[in-house]
């Protein structure tokens, strides 16, 4: 799996240095027990395929091949969940899974790179211009959380992510696919085997072999879906309270049926691994899986979809008031589509994230609308937490 899509050649005039206003010393790493995970789904996830509006009369004709097959698991009579996400159904039933549909950032063009940066930056300019700080909204949020130390926020993956870059000091944790022991672990085993006359000579040979293997190229390199979930959960069980990572592979211009089944299964596994790894902490955890934009309402001629606008956000966690799909459904009739092609966004996806930050970390509406998400009107957005 692509842990991170390698994408940026910029960054953006900020460093990970601590803000002069925040001293590391004296701050607890972990303010409270609430935990927020933001998964950036790179490549523009097709919300209409993940959360299928099977109750909309236009849906089937817009998606002649993608709507085929099992059609998904009915959720609320109007929406059905893509079959590959079925492992998440128990969470829906317990109210630990929910969605916001017909959402988008204010960005109205359709470039992946700009769209992803815009999503992570959290600004409000329709042309994709970043905020003056050119930093990430999660980082700005951390700056507003009292007592958030330098390990409260963590990016997990090979690259840092803009969403957590900025003035507040945050951690970057890079899990390695190489499963070998640390130097310390090897040392401990050297001692134990060295003291055992039967094993000592064999151990020396085994270590030589292990070194040879480790020096060779790693054919896979990247982590499995469950790995990343487990690793992130481990950070959150320790001292992190806000974690972010990305899952790539959502740009499905052709052969979407196969690709979506694969990616969605990986996303589901990731969420379940988070839940498993968090254990009791799952109850105070919220997971938001967001993407840069949606895809065209109509499937294209090659069994895929092209870049669109309105899409879906997945939410999960014991802290979530789930089992429902948030948002106002705009309809899929041609006249209801944006530019007669995209699902019309009826809400700013940032409003749901703002609600989450307010509920989890007590951020004030004024700060959220001015600092974290400039230009946002939280207006009618419903609370997402229990």
């Amino acid at each position: 799996m692509d842990l991170l899509i390698s994408r940026r050649s910029f960054l953006i005039g900020c460093s990970a240095a601590a803000s002069p206003l925040i001293t590391r010393i004296g701050f607890a790493a972990a303010p409270g027990e609430n935990r927020l995970v933001v998964i950036v789904l790179r490549g523009a996830m097709d919300g209409l395929d993940v959360l299928r509006p099977v109750g909309d009369p236009a849906y089937a004709s817009l998606r002649p091949t993608l709507a085929e097959g099992e059609g998904g698991a009915p959720l609320d009579g109007f929406f059905a969940l893509h079959p590959a996400a079925a492992p998440l159904l128990p969470l829906w039933q317990t109210g630990e899974l929910g969605f916001a549909h017909a959402v988008a950032t204010p960005y109205r063009r359709r470039s992946h790179f700009t769209g992803q940066d815009f999503l992570e930056n959290g600004g409000g300019a329709a042309d994709g211009a970043l905020t003056p700080g050119r930093d990430g909204w999660l980082n700005r949020a951390i700056g507003l959380i009292p007592g958030a130390g330098p390990r409260a926020g963590v990016t997990v993956g090979r690259e840092r992510m803009l969403i957590l870059e900025g003035a507040a000091d945050t951690a970057h944790w890079m899990p390695v696919a190489d499963p070998r022991l640390s130097a310390q672990g090897r040392l401990l085993l050297d001692e134990l085997h060295g003291a055992d006359p039967l094993f000592a000579p064999v151990w020396t040979g085994a270590q030589a072999l292990a070194t040879e293997t480790a020096a060779g190229p790693n054919p896979k390199g990247d982590l499995a879906a469950t790995d990343i979930g487990t690793h992130v959960a481990a950070r959150l069980v320790a001292d992190a309270r806000i974690a972010t990572f990305s899952l790539g592979g959502w740009d499905m211009h052709q052969g979407q049926a196969r690709l979506m089944a694969d990616r969605l299964a990986a996303l589901a596994q990731t969420v379940l691994a988070l839940r498993a790894g968090l254990g009791a902490h799952w109850g105070t955890t919220l997971v938001l899986a967001m993407t840069e934009f949606g895809r065209t309402a109509r499937e294209n001629g090659s069994g895929g979809t092209d870049h669109g606008t309105g899409g879906a956000m997945l939410m999960a966690g014991g802290a979530l008031r789930g089992g429902r799909v948030l948002g106002r459904w705009p309809g899929l009739a041609e006249a209801d589509l944006l530019n007669r092609r995209d699902l019309m966004p009826t809400a700013d996806v940032r409003a749901h994230a703002a609600q989450a930050l307010a509920g989890m970390f007590g951020l004030a509406r004024g700060d959220l609308e001015r600092v974290v998400f400039p230009g946002l009107d939280m207006g009618g957005a419903e609370p997402v937490l229990r």
């Binding site: 022991l181 151990w203 469950t226």
Partner: protein, 446 residues
């Protein structure tokens, strides 16, 4: 007082991490009690019987014939057979990992290895598991002569050691086709399965003459008079005639030879205690074997009550099967976990791991089965593969709260235990502590 851990480690598959230590000290009676039937794990791990498999194979043949005749047939037997063969080998580890009677399970696998049959030729696919379940397990706490007879008369052994190809040269079939004896089963019956010494080539050939006619077909074991070699056979100074009953008499006779008694005693003591087991114990067990007409439980009792049985030093090296099972038991796993935590959807791939550690499931290369000495399992690549398994398992399973405490639970005060627990506590992170435990020499011993 010797530690009760010894019951699990030396005579079982290792403690399960989530269970309390057995109360009191080492207790031979507690181990002996495991032998009382029924084994509750039998029902849980029941596999299709040989009779059921033969019926499915008949059905599959009928389906194929009907299809050739142009009939539309819903062929379910073929896929069912495939499913069964895919599952069979994958029960080996979970059954031991979840065994509630570890000593009994160890014995079943030890005897199945003594009377080895193996996957390989397609004809073996449906024979290995029924052999283990029907020829070995019923006799583990019974009499060895009965087990040996069940083995010789089981289609698995008849196919594996080529008895099905053996034809008496003076039999009806031998005369008509010019076919002859195949000595494979006759030889291993004397060499590997029973006496090991004390016979010569003449005895082997005569045994092959007597066995001719014993074969396996679509309905299982059969005696085909057209293949039977006529006339008397002189084996180890005893004269045998023709037919199934005479074969049974021979098996009963060689099972009670003193060489067989010695061989069985040495195998048991060598497997559980040491590559060089105490001579006094081997002698006592051999004598008991002859006195008790091959009854096994009295031998087990001698073994379990010998002073070497309670020694704190762990002299034997776990086989790959015993090792992987012990790691799973430590973590309260079954080996069948898939898609939980960081374990991939395809599961732990225990079969592949077993192959890397040197013991592909039920595929020993030769009829003498898997090695039962340290030298057979300790090579650099095999040890490197154990380290890989230790690291992989420790990283994929949910973190253990206190790996040091787990190490103490696993090894206690047995030799190497305190040092291992201390090293585990010195690891940088929890998973690594668990990996150090599993890769430690003390954990690879039993």
């Amino acid at each position: 007082m010797a530690s009760s851990l010894i019951e699990d480690i030396r005579f079982g598959y290792g403690p399960r991490g989530g269970t309390a230590p057995l109360p009191g000290g080492y207790d031979a009676d507690r181990l002996m009690a495991q032998l009382a039937p029924p084994d509750p794990d039998d029902a849980r791990w029941h596999r299709p019987t040989l009779a059921e498999r033969l019926a499915l194979q008949r059905q599959a043949r009928d389906d194929a014939a009907a299809r050739r005749a142009g009939q539309a047939v819903a062929a379910t037997a073929g896929p069912e057979l495939k499913r069964i063969t895919a599952e069979d080998p994958l029960t080996w580890i979970p059954r031991a990992a979840t065994a509630t009677r570890g000593f009994r399970e160890r014995l079943a696998n030890l005897w199945a290895n003594r009377l080895t049959v193996a996957f390989g030729p397609a004809a073996m696919a449906h024979l290995v598991q029924p052999f283990r379940d029907e020829a070995i397990r019923p006799h583990v706490a019974g009499r060895f002569p009965d087990m040996l007879a069940a083995s010789v008369f089981h289609p698995a052994m008849l196919v594996y050691l080529d008895q099905v190809r053996s034809v008496g040269p003076h039999s009806v079939l031998g005369q008509r086709r010019g076919q002859g004896l195949n000595e494979n089963l006759a030889r291993e019956l004397l060499e590997l399965h029973s006496m090991g010494t004390g016979y010569d080539q003449r005895d082997v050939t005569e045994t092959a003459r007597l066995l001719a006619g014993l074969t396996a077909g679509p309905d299982g074991t059969a005696f085909d008079p057209d293949r039977a070699e006529p006339g008397d056979k002189r084996i180890l100074g005893v004269t045998y005639g023709e037919g199934e009953d005479e074969i049974r008499r021979l098996v009963a006779d060689i099972a009670m030879r003193s060489q067989t008694a010695d061989s069985v005693a040495r195998m048991l003591a060598g497997h559980f205690l040491s590559d060089n087991p105490p001579a006094d114990l081997v002698q006592a067990m051999a004598a008991e074997y002859l006195r008790g007409e091959g009854a096994l439980p009295p031998l087990y009792r001698l073994l379990l009550t010998h002073p070497a049985a309670r020694a704190a030093e762990l002299a034997k090296v776990r086989s790959p099967h015993e090792y992987i099972v012990a790691t799973l038991r430590a973590l309260d796993m079954t080996g069948q976990e898939a898609g939980v935590g960081a374990i991939p959807k395809v599961g732990l791939r225990v079969a592949e791991a077993m192959a890397r550690l040197g013991q592909p499931i039920h595929r020993p290369r030769q009829p003498d089965g898997w090695p039962d000495t340290a030298g057979g399992w300790l090579s650099a690549p095999m040890l490197a593969a154990r380290l890989d398994w230790a690291v992989e398992l420790a990283r994929r399973t949910p973190p253990v709260d206190d790996p040091g405490a787990l190490a103490e639970r696993m090894l206690g005060d047995l030799a190497g235990g305190p040092e291992t627990a201390q090293a585990v506590r010195g690891a940088e992170q929890r998973w690594e502590g668990v990996a150090v435990l599993f890769a430690a020499p003390a954990f690879m011993r039993r």
